[in-house]
């Protein structure tokens, strides 16, 4: 006869030491779920495949795998339940407001998912004869047309797989253009409020990075920038609107100064949502900019990708765009995959194949759905929502800068001074209230930053509740409830996690014995 209680202790593992309200460790609809590897039954399989024919002799050249792999065996019902349960431990746009500044977490239409799955797109091999993929090439061409028109730029490189990849692409184009001019410029000036990928991308192209200080209005200090400019400066990297949620008011002068110094102007377009349809980067003097299709154009962020980061380019940089190029050929579209013909100056290839086509379908469907009128409305509503949040909170929290913001609003932690409550604590309290926290401690230019980006797909009622909750929490903080904040969250699937321990002795994979031990620790 079994000792049934083992079945409990097994599950208590996952909540070892904790005072569990239930025998199972579950809490109503909040269900604990062990790792796949802890559910292994040898031989069990969630896919039925025909028995392979016995080969007289394989052609693996004596390299047939003999050692077991160690993958767990589960049935389909268990796998479906496993991932359903995991999904229920996530917050998402579909669940509620996700005001993560600089991430543009907007609604992801299901239409786009449906279209990306059409066999005519999803079931195409990248190396099929060009004659059999004319529709897919037309798709790339149409999306390129939308991006070029919205930015006012003459060319676009479609292959980068994300924003950072786009930065790399842009900086490489700049380097290639300089080489073509026979110039060696190695300095790149990056705004100190820039996202970490900016300096990292510049360095990945062999540049050295210096930071441009911000002025007290949260913008680039024009004088300081001019002082930094010189014959050895290859480019500057700014984000506009910048990561303080502010439009760079001097941007045209900045562009002129940069061009006068013979350098290029790279703009991080992650915040394009604030100005799409209302401002064309080309009109600001920008030479090159990446667009995060997974932000402004709503391709789902997917818990960390896949993304897509096309890069629009000024004429001076266009010839150096990476391969492949979709071009209009004699009969239909053609694909240039080698650095010859028109693409002879291309700096080369950034990834396998042609780009994030599946994301292109989604982004184009999104753009067509909005149209020129809808996209302009997107920018206006995104900015309106952010300013509405600012107006609702300015008297109880501390906005870092005066005046209206663009699509996101930046607060610092002065309003928490002497409360014993930190930016982090406030964010964790928001989790109990049913919200995803805002971006914290970024940008680095203010202390204890709280960067809130509601996006245009949030309703006024949602913002009203969010504002009311933040107002109430700000009040709580000032009324000495520091302990409440320090303990938060208490209603989520997990309390605060020990990140120090995780980094001190990293457990980066499951292994039979140790994992159980560490779980039982």
């Amino acid at each position: 006869m079994n000792d049934w209680s083992q079945a409990l202790s097994r599950f208590s593992d996952t909540t070892a030491g904790a005072p569990v309200a239930t025998h199972s460790g579950n809490r109503g609809l909040d269900l604990e779920e062990p790792l796949l590897f802890e559910q292994d039954k040898p031989g069990r399989c969630g896919v039925d495949l025909p028995e392979p024919p016995v080969l007289v002799q394989d052609r693996l050249g004596g390299l047939a795998r003999t050692a077991p792999i160690g993958l767990p065996g589960l049935s389909e019902p268990e796998v479906v339940r496993h991932f359903t349960r995991l999904s229920r431990r996530n917050y998402a746009i579909d669940s509620g407001l996700y005001p993560l500044g600089s991430c543009t977490m907007k609604h992801n239409p299901r239409l786009n998912e449906k279209l990306a799955r059409l066999p005519g797109f999803a079931d195409l091999h990248p190396l099929q004869p060009i004659s059999t993929v004319q529709g897919a090439l037309a798709l790339v061409d149409q999306l390129a047309h939308w991006l070029k028109t919205l930015t006012g730029m003459p060319a676009v490189a479609m292959s980068p797989a994300a924003g950072a990849h786009g930065e790399l692409c842009g900086m490489m184009a700049i380097r290639a253009a300089l080489n073509a001019r026979g110039e060696t410029r190695n300095r790149v000036l990056v705004a100190d409020s820039a996202h970490g990928t900016n300096p990292a991308s510049a360095v990945a192209c062999g540049f050295t990075v210096e930071s441009i200080p911000a002025n007290d209005r949260g913008r680039v200090d024009l004088a300081a920038l001019k002082a930094l400019l010189g014959p050895d400066v290859a480019a500057i990297m700014l984000t506009n609107p910048n990561t303080c949620g502010l439009f760079e008011t001097d941007i045209i002068e900045i562009a002129e100064a940069v061009h006068a110094a013979g350098a290029f102007f790279y703009c991080d377009g992650a915040n394009f949502n604030a100005i799409v349809g209302r401002v064309r980067p080309a009109d600001l003097g920008i030479d090159v900019m990446h667009l995060n299709l997974h932000k402004t154009f709503s391709t789902p962020h997917g818990g960390g990708g896949p993304g897509s980061g096309p890069v629009v380019l000024a004429a001076a940089l266009a010839p150096f765009a990476p391969l492949p190029w979709v071009v209009h050929g004699t009969d239909g579209f053609d694909l240039i995959e080698q650095p010859d013909g028109d693409a002879v100056a291309s700096f080369g290839r950034l990834k396998g194949f042609h780009g994030q086509i599946g994301m292109f379908v989604r982004a184009l469907a999104y753009m067509m759905s909005h149209g020129s009128d809808g996209l302009r409305q997107v920018a206006e509503d995104a900015v309106l929502n952010a300013n509405y949040v600012l107006a609702g909170l300015r008297d109880v929290m501390t906005p870092s800068f005066d005046g209206p913001c663009m699509h996101e609003v930046l607060f610092d932690d002065r309003f928490l001074k002497d409360t014993g409550v930190t930016t982090l604590d406030l964010a964790k309290a928001l989790i109990d209230e049913g919200y995803h926290p805002m971006t914290m401690y970024f940008p680095l230019v203010v202390h204890g930053a709280l960067l809130i980006e509601p996006t245009e797909t949030e309703s006024r009622a949602t913002l009203d509740q969010f504002i009311a909750v933040l107002r109430a929490l700000a009040l709580d903080a000032r009324s000495g409830k520091a302990d409440y904040f320090a303990a938060a969250p208490v209603l989520a699937p997990r309390r605060r996690l020990d990140e120090t321990a995780a980094a001190r002795c990293p457990v980066l994979r499951w292994t039979p014995a140790p994992a159980l031990r560490s779980a039982a620790e």
Binding site: L86, N90, L139, G163, G196, P306, G348, F353, P404, L508
Partner: protein, 448 residues
């Protein structure tokens, strides 16, 4: 507009509570010359039905690989993905959440990434893996740069049998970060001599298994030669299913594995999005690019997961980061994790055997076609044919007759006229006997 919740009444009231007369007032920081009043010259908003029709028409102008017998590989493979995979990755809680920066409410993403890291480590035979990179080609470039950091050397030896896209991607990074590449010419026949190219300036040697002609190799000796010179062995895998049938790179002594994971859980997608797999030795982990999920406990002592070792990453280290990568391939990694969870040990091994068996059947059948010679004596699910004429036009002719008959190597090696007659063909569990028959028959017809 269906995606915009604000009504004009809302907008008016909100402007009022903000205290500005109009929306333009909120854009006042935009320099006058850059302000646009009119609409950009693009079509107006469309309803869902109209968009569906427009993009449906574009889709209809392509020949779906599944609608005809199809034998393309060369870095992207057509496998059967169970319906539950696509259902689960579309759960809003997965698809519409961000990178898991707030672990208390993203345990779902964090746990599957931890499972993904474990699966990748297991099948490659390596100690640790990251939470994904963009794709196999960019992973290959990252591997070389990581080897440079680890060895403080700046020379990489690339096998000629490395997928040309991988080589090109790596070369791009080499050009801009200024490390040296030594490349051997692609040789469809015979073994290439890489060992003599390894010296004490060599950071790493990069090889592929199965290679871009479909050949499988034992790199054990090469690994020893690398290590003897203080260099690292980077093994690239473009068809990850092969690891269910052949000895994994880890067992051959690989130091870094850079692979393409599309074959498991992901559609062809005309080349993207795919998912880059990246695995290495535990002691190298702090030089690894990309995100890592680690296990820990919460305030109540319950097991949980977090993003860890972030001090390698751009958002902490900025210009000193190991890589500039931020968004990677999360949802494709989830599809990979779910599909591999369904397969498990038994299914993964059987799937690989099935692929090899289909390829053997295809090779035997095509060998009978006049004017066709099979070059490989060893392969997994892909091999190279030598035709009695240039392969590219043959493939065009096959396509006209409703067969997607492989990848002409001229497309990957345009600068190598000697490879023009070569055709790279792959078979998977998706290819029926009828598919193989009609390929052979059509090829016979085209070549006669």
């Amino acid at each position: 507009m269906r995606y915009l919740p604000l009504t004009d009444a809302d907008r008016g009231a909100m402007l009022a509570s903000i205290g500005v007369p109009s929306i333009d007032a909120l854009f006042r920081d935009v320099p006058a010359p850059a302000r646009r009043d009119g609409l950009v010259d693009l079509p107006r908003a469309m309803g869902e039905l109209e968009v569906e029709r427009a993009l449906g028409r574009l889709a209809a102008r392509n020949l779906g690989a599944g609608s005809v017998p199809s034998f393309l590989g060369a870095g992207a493979y057509r496998h059967h993905v169970p319906a539950s995979v696509d259902h689960l990755i579309q759960r809003g809680e997965f698809m519409t959440s961000y990178t898991p920066y707030q672990p208390e409410v993203t345990q779902g993403t964090l746990q599957y990434l931890f499972e993904f890291q474990t699966q990748v480590a297991l099948i490659t035979g390596m100690e640790v893996a990251n939470a994904s990179l963009y794709d196999g080609a960019s992973a290959c470039a990252e591997a070389v740069m990581m080897a440079n950091r680890l060895t403080r050397r700046r020379k990489a030896v690339l096998s000629g049998a490395l997928h040309p896209h991988y080589r090109a991607t790596t070369a791009t990074h080499a050009r801009f970060t200024g490390f040296e590449l030594v490349e051997t010419p692609a040789q469809p026949m015979g073994d290439e001599a890489l060992v003599p190219l390894i010296d004490d300036k060599t950071a790493c040697v990069v090889v592929q298994n199965p290679d871009c002609f479909g050949r499988v190799h034992d790199f054990t000796a090469l690994a020893e030669a690398c290590h003897a010179k203080g260099a690292l062995l980077v093994v690239v895998v473009t068809e990850i299913v092969s690891l269910g049938a052949i000895v994994p790179p880890g067992q051959m002594g690989a130091d870094i594995v850079a692979a393409e994971g599309q074959s498991i859980g992901n559609a062809l997608n005309f080349g993207g999005p795919h998912v880059g797999l990246f695995a290495t030795r535990e002691r190298f982990v702090r030089q690894m690019p990309g995100r890592l999920v680690g296990q820990t406990v919460d305030a109540e002592g319950r097991r949980g997961w977090v993003l860890t070792l972030s001090t390698r990453e751009q958002h902490i280290r900025r210009e000193k980061a190991t890589s500039n990568i931020c968004t990677n391939a999360g949802l494709c990694a989830l599809a990979f994790t779910i599909h591999l969870a369904l397969l498990g040990e038994a299914g993964f091994v059987r799937l690989a055997r099935l692929n090899h068996a289909r390829a053997c059947a295809l090779a035997d059948r095509l060998a009978l076609v006049p004017g066709v010679a099979v070059l490989n004596d060893r392969f997994f699910n892909e091999f190279t044919l030598r035709l009695d004429r240039p392969a590219a036009p043959v493939v065009e002719a096959l396509a006209e007759r409703g067969v997607l008959g492989g990848v002409p190597l001229a497309r990957l090696f345009p600068d190598r006229p000697d490879l023009a007659p070569l055709l790279l063909v792959a078979a998977t569990e998706m290819n029926t006997d009828e598919d193989i028959e009609s390929f052979a028959a059509t090829l016979t017809e085209v070549l006669s």
